[in-house]
């Protein structure tokens, strides 16, 4: 329900300082330069909802829309990077019953905060993207599952939904056609696991968020057992632009195999942390510059490029890398959700890993044995090391235990929990050995 307060908050949402946007290509956040970025008026003024109207009223064929999305090279922005157009083509065309659409706004990994800016500054573009997807895929109902710890953004999105409903962009018989779609906002309660699409679906159904075994995939057995398409917030928000300018134009914004723009959440030891929407293939250096470089003029030590579930990179590894799927993959990590955590020379990698492994230990859903038991084991070993009670064989044990979790669970949380352990020990083994031998950190001496 949109209260007056909520509406007031929406209109009060201020645009950021213009100079901050230097070097960025605003696509998902295209309203950011306007006065009231989140309002319907602003979005309409920028040509918003014209694509939805065009597609629906001109009865554009679903296959043509999917072709455009395929051409665009848009890949799942939630972290897995699965081609969106291909995913859309998995939805059964003919189905006797309700099909569902789900937007995954449940970003909960440390350092990930890009989707909330879309919800906060440009909710209507997301709504239009979802509505277009619903039209394309024949989904009658859509849910946007919003992370439980960003309540304000949930309220803003809910208010935007009401505006859109009132303006006739969602609801029954849109634009006088027989196309109808209902969109709803759902908020979680902060569990990281609910960002996993099948756990998210369970949560929407009112159950405990636990991933389902796949197959069957959501496209055949999703919300309430019905065909469901799940995409990330940023993926949906890219759709209106793709259909306005054509898939080719989107693809050309980026580099081969990585079309379009990407939002990077830059955090950690930089002068100016924040979200940056840049073209795919932008170099790491450029991105670091946008964040005004490593803070206090210190030296760069390591970067986690796509969120803690992607392997950590040393400064050398990332310095010449480009920020796109293939670029980072070649450099030895992956793009993930574009949550870049920057660490300077004063960072103790042992303590950092302890914090990360504590996160996965606390967030494991507890369903599968390796993840339930292994994440706790890993955390306890690292914790013991930081308490000065480490043994040299602990490092091999950590590697072994993590490898045993990886690839042996229902969902990818097990892999995500193993990745930092494996990559931290691989790239910073000396630091771990020092900590075990001396009972204190090599970096801060504590």
């Amino acid at each position: 329900m949109a209260t007056k307060e909520m509406k007031a908050r929406v209109t009060k949402t201020k645009a950021p300082v213009m100079s901050a946007l230097k070097g960025q290509t605003l696509l998902c956040l295209r309203t950011l330069t306007e006065k009231n970025p989140a309002s319907l008026a602003t979005y309409e003024q920028l040509g918003g909802y014209t694509q939805l109207k065009r597609l629906v009223t001109e009865k554009v064929k679903a296959v043509d829309i999917i072709t455009q999305v395929k051409v665009s090279g848009l890949r799942g922005r939630g972290g897995a990077g699965f081609p969106t157009g291909l995913k859309w083509s998995f939805m059964p065309r003919y189905f006797d019953g309700t099909k569902y659409l789900v937007c995954n706004s449940d970003e909960g990994e440390p350092g990930t905060f890009k989707d909330r800016d879309i919800l906060r500054y440009n909710p209507h573009q997301l709504i239009e993207g979802m509505a277009i997807a619903a039209y394309t895929l024949g989904a009658r109902v859509g849910y946007n599952y919003i992370h439980g710890e960003i309540w304000q953004d949930y309220e803003i999105f809910e208010a935007a939904l009401q505006e859109a409903r009132a303006a006739g962009y969602i609801g029954e018989n849109l634009f006088g056609t027989n196309f109808s779609v209902d969109l709803y906002a759902v908020h979680g309660y902060g569990a990281y696991i609910c960002g996993e699409e099948t756990a998210l679906i369970e949560s929407i159904e009112g159950k405990k968020g636990q991933p389902r075994f796949k197959p069957p995939f959501p496209a055949s057995y999703g919300v309430f057992g019905k065909p469901t398409n799940v995409n990330n917030t940023e993926s949906f928000a890219s759709i209106p632009w793709i259909l306005q300018h054509g898939g080719q134009a989107f693809a050309e914004l980026g580099v081969p195999n990585s079309g379009g723009t990407k939002l990077f959440s830059v955090s950690g030891h930089v002068e100016k942390p924040g979200n940056f929407e840049v073209k795919m293939g932008t170099t790491f250096k450029e991105l670091l510059d946008m964040a005004d470089g490593v803070w206090k003029g210190r030296k760069l030590k390591a970067v986690i490029p796509g969120g803690p579930s992607t392997p950590v990179m040393t400064a050398d590894m990332i310095m010449n890398a480009t920020m796109d799927y293939d670029g980072l993959s070649k450099a030895g990590s992956s793009l993930g959700a574009g949550s870049m955590i920057v660490m300077d020379e004063t960072t103790c990698m042992v303590k950092t890993l302890k914090r990360l492994s504590y996160f996965f230990f606390e967030e494991s859903c507890g369903q599968c044995t390796p993840c339930r038991e292994g994440t706790g084991w890993v955390y306890r070993i690292i914790n013991r090391i930081t308490e000065g009670n480490g043994k040299m064989e602990d490092l091999d044990l950590l590697t072994d235990v993590s490898s045993n979790i990886s690839g042996r669970t229902i969902c990818a949380l097990g892999d995500a929990a193993a990745t930092p352990v494996l990559s931290f020990i691989k790239h910073f083994r000396l630091e771990f050995e020092y900590y075990i031998q001396h009972g204190k950190s090599m970096v801060d001496g504590k």
Partner: protein
């Protein structure tokens, strides 16, 4: 069919089956904890990971469907490594308390750890401890041992019908628990003990009493309901220590009801009668068999000689074996007595002599699952047939539409499509409506007896009964069915009702129109067997009820406690009190047998051999699993010797098998059964159209843990929530209409008897009814299970009057 290869072995398996199914079929062992063939697939324990060609990661065999050309390796390096790593994870937080764990020696985790575990642990951190939960008197918990496989959760949800356990919290903090302050109340709860692959859930009564390897396992048949579940009795030092299910897919699958599982505690109760006893001048004295038998024989002979065989009444428990039933019938006939009956809880005997054969459930137990439409008449299914209810649940989960006509609205824990909850008297009218609606749908003109025609002509079909008729005809629902498989069943409340004939005739007519299978759901282990052998009066004799209404001079009782096992407790009590001689063959001392003159200790089912015939007509023999306690003897032997003492002929049986051969005349039992089972009536039966209706009616169901003498003595079952003393249960409107309030004490009267009970709110009871459970000392002063009843305020004056008369 799909061609696959497991460990180099080429196989053809059904499309859609999983790797684990395929491997199980050819005997390739894949370790597993969470997977169970009867439950949904959870794929969470990860123990069954196997290597599949072309897949980078190991896959769970339980959840991976086979595909053509799939090559599976269950013992390759990659597979074994994965399995071993999962084993290590499972063990790091599992306590090393096998020496004091009840599961030790029969534990999946222990067994699989021997095969896949390391000899030592790499885990040196602190171990997890989980607080134990109290989930009731039947199941003991040691939650630190739990490996979160969720079999118990899935069983209670999917088979039990209600999710009473769940996994709360995340990650390592995840634990199985019941709802806050709640216990597990499912009448099938004991099965989660069998399902638990570790020692987290163990049997509370059995706890710390024996080790699995000390027990001798002997097969037997469950004696408490008509299902005929296969059980395995575990015996140590001639004492029954526990009972587990024996797998029999077509009957009990791999499950067992709590009643069948925990009743054994009654066998070991201090009430067991160990020596024959004779009452001299009002005091009981132990005696030897010879004296007791001669005394009993003398009494029976004298009375029958002096007053004729008709002076004797023989009441037989329907839980007795076929052999016992046959012998006691022959014995009675030998004394010139035709007053033999096993139908202790029946009021309406008008169908006697009008049946074609033996009434039964009308289909196989397994067929219930396949039904499309079900009509259940007067049955509190979960109370009467706890495990059979689960088959109905399967049918409903498969899409069957369930319609219920009953005076009780108890939740069967499955979806009900249509229900009508009315007074027992009005159920006839409801069935009439269904019949009328049905005949209209089918455009049939019925050929019915005039009384039924008359009844139907005065009936107006209402919407709900119209809907029921349409459902039974296959109409309605999502898709109309052309030829639905219909099942119509009458339960205990219908069987005990004075208008059973009307209900049966209607059900038969409805079933005739829609081609339904079905019949009655006999309550006891051997009800159908007793009927088959004719342990009931032929033409001249009296039925069970008549024997009590016109009291006999002598009674011979087999395996019953008269006031608790008979339909009319007060009548039974009075009849025994006035009799000159009561000879009771019983396994237990009982306050209900105080009026007896001689007690002959007989062996319960575990200590005798015999045969039961189940509700689906399955003839199942069993052997004794333990030696008779003290001076107890199998009832068939006692009856044989008693007959010998009486000087009767043709009682020269040396084994129960010989008796069985005699019963079936050397024919194959199944052939006799096939010929005899028939629910049809020989002729159209006239029914009573107008019955006197006095208003309030009693619903006197027998609680499931009061159903027979053994169950009544099982301490753990008596501690469950199902054991409540009788109360005057009524719905709120009824309480208000009588000007009463909940918790108030009332005087409940039936016939000449009465009981002082508390008023209890029970929204499941139909308006116009008072639910007062039977088979309990609190309600033995009352009459018919289903009959007229009055409720009045229990004032202090009444107390004084009673005190004065006393």
């Amino acid at each position: 069919m799909v061609k696959i290869e497991i460990d180099g072995k080429a196989l053809e398996v059904e499309y859609g089956s999983t790797i684990i199914d395929a491997a199980d079929k050819v005997g390739i062992a894949i370790p597993r904890f969470c997977y169970h063939k009867k439950l949904s697939v959870a794929a969470n324990c990860r123990m069954c990971l196997v290597q599949v060609e072309k897949f980078a990661k190991p896959l769970p065999a339980c959840a991976t469907p086979v595909a053509d050309g799939m090559k599976i390796f269950t013992r390759s390096k990659e597979a074994v490594e994965a399995q071993q790593s999962v084993m290590e994870f499972l063990l790091i937080n599992h306590p090393l308390d096998c020496p004091i764990c009840d599961q030790g020696g029969e534990c999946d985790l222990q067994d699989i750890a021997v095969a896949y575990g390391a000899s030592g642990s790499r885990y040196t951190e602190e171990k997890r401890v989980v607080i134990n939960k109290n989930i009731g008197p039947l199941i003991s918990t040691d939650m630190t041992r739990c490996i979160q496989c969720t079999r118990c959760v899935r069983f209670l949800k999917e088979v039990g019908g209600m999710q009473e356990l769940g996994l709360i919290n995340r990650g390592e903090h995840a634990e199985i628990t019941a709802y806050v302050d709640k216990s597990v109340n499912s009448e099938l709860s004991g099965n989660i003990i069998d399902l638990c692959p570790v020692g987290a859930l163990t049997s509370k009564p059995f706890r710390y009493t024996a080790r699995g390897w000390e027990l001798t396992r002997r097969p037997s048949i469950a004696p408490h309901d008509g299902l005929g579940s296969h059980i395995e009795v575990h015996v140590k030092d001639n004492k029954v220590m526990r009972v587990l299910p024996r797998e029999k897919e077509s009957i009990n699958e791999c499950w067992l009801s709590d009643r069948d599982r925990y009743s054994y505690e009654g066998l070991n109760s201090p009430d067991r009668l160990k020596t024959p006893m004779i009452k001299h001048n009002g005091t009981w004295a132990e005696t030897d068999w010879k004296t007791a038998l001669e005394f009993a024989a003398g009494q029976l002979k004298d009375i029958t000689k002096q007053y004729g065989g008709d002076a004797l009444g023989v009441l037989v428990s329907p839980n007795s074996t076929m052999e016992e039933g046959y012998l006691i019938k022959q014995l009675a006939h030998g004394l010139g007595c035709d007053n033999v009956d096993y139908r202790l809880r029946q009021t309406d005997f008008r169908l006697d002599g009008k049946r074609v054969g033996t009434p039964w459930m009308g289909c196989n137990i397994q067929e219930i699952e396949e039904l499309d439409r079900i009509l259940l008449i007067g049955s509190n299914l979960r109370n009467e047939h706890p495990l059979l209810a689960q088959r109905f649940r399967k049918a409903v989960n498969n899409g069957a539409e369930l319609s219920i006509v009953s005076p009780l609205d108890n939740d069967p824990l499955m979806d009900i499509a249509h229900k009508v909850i009315v007074r027992p008297n009005d159920m006839v009218n409801i069935l009439g409506q269904i019949l009328k609606a049905m005949s209209k749908i089918q455009r049939l003109s019925l050929c019915l007896p005039p009384s039924l025609e008359l009844l139907l002509s005065n009936i107006k079909v209402r919407d709900n009964t119209q809907a029921m008729a349409e459902s039974l005809a296959g109409l309605g629902g999502e898709i109309d069915l052309i030829a639905p498989k219909v099942g119509i069943f009458l339960g205990n409340m219908a069987l005990s009702d004075p208008r059973f004939t009307e209900m049966y005739s209607m059900a038969e007519a409805i079933g005739g129109i829609c081609g339904a299978k079905g019949g009655i759901l006999p309550a006891s282990a051997n009800s159908t067997g007793m009927h088959l052998m004719g342990v009931m009066p032929c033409t001249l004799g009296m039925h069970a009820r008549a024997m009590l209404e016109a009291p006999r001079r002598a009674y011979l009782l087999l395996n019953i406690e008269p006031e608790l096992d008979c339909q009319h407790a007060a009548l039974a009590n009075a009849a025994m009190a006035q009799a000159e001689c009561v000879v009771a063959l019983t396994a237990f001392k009982s306050a209900a047998l105080e009026n007896a003159d001689v007690l002959l200790p007989i062996a319960p089912f575990t200590e005798t051999s015999g045969t039961f015939m189940s509700m689906e007509g399955r003839v199942q023999s069993f052997q004794a699993v333990a030696k008779p306690l003290g001076e107890c003897r199998p009832a068939w032997k006692v009856l044989r010797v008693l007959a010998n003492t009486l000087g009767l002929k043709d009682f020269d049986f040396d084994s129960s098998e010989q008796v069985k051969d005699k019963i079936f005349n050397g024919e194959k039992p199944s052939a006799v059964v096939w010929r005899s089972m028939n629910n049809n009536l020989k002729e159209l039966v006239e029914i009573q159209v107008n019955v006197k209706d006095h208003g309030l009616q009693r619903i006197g169901e027998v609680p499931q843990y009061e159903s027979d003498p053994i169950v009544r003595r099982s301490a753990p079952l008596q501690k469950t929530k199902y054991n409540t003393k009788p109360m005057a249960r009524m719905r709120a409107e009824q309480i208000a209409a009588l000007g009463l309030v909940e918790g108030e004490t009332v005087l409940v009267k039936q016939d000449k008897g009465s009981a002082v009970l508390q008023v209890k709110l029970d929204s499941h009871v139909a308006m116009g009814c008072v639910r007062v459970t039977a088979s309990h000392e609190g309600s033995v002063g009352l009459g018919d299970l289903m009959g007229d009843i009055t409720v009045e305020k229990h004032t202090v004056e009444v107390n004084q009057q009673e005190a004065e008369t006393a």
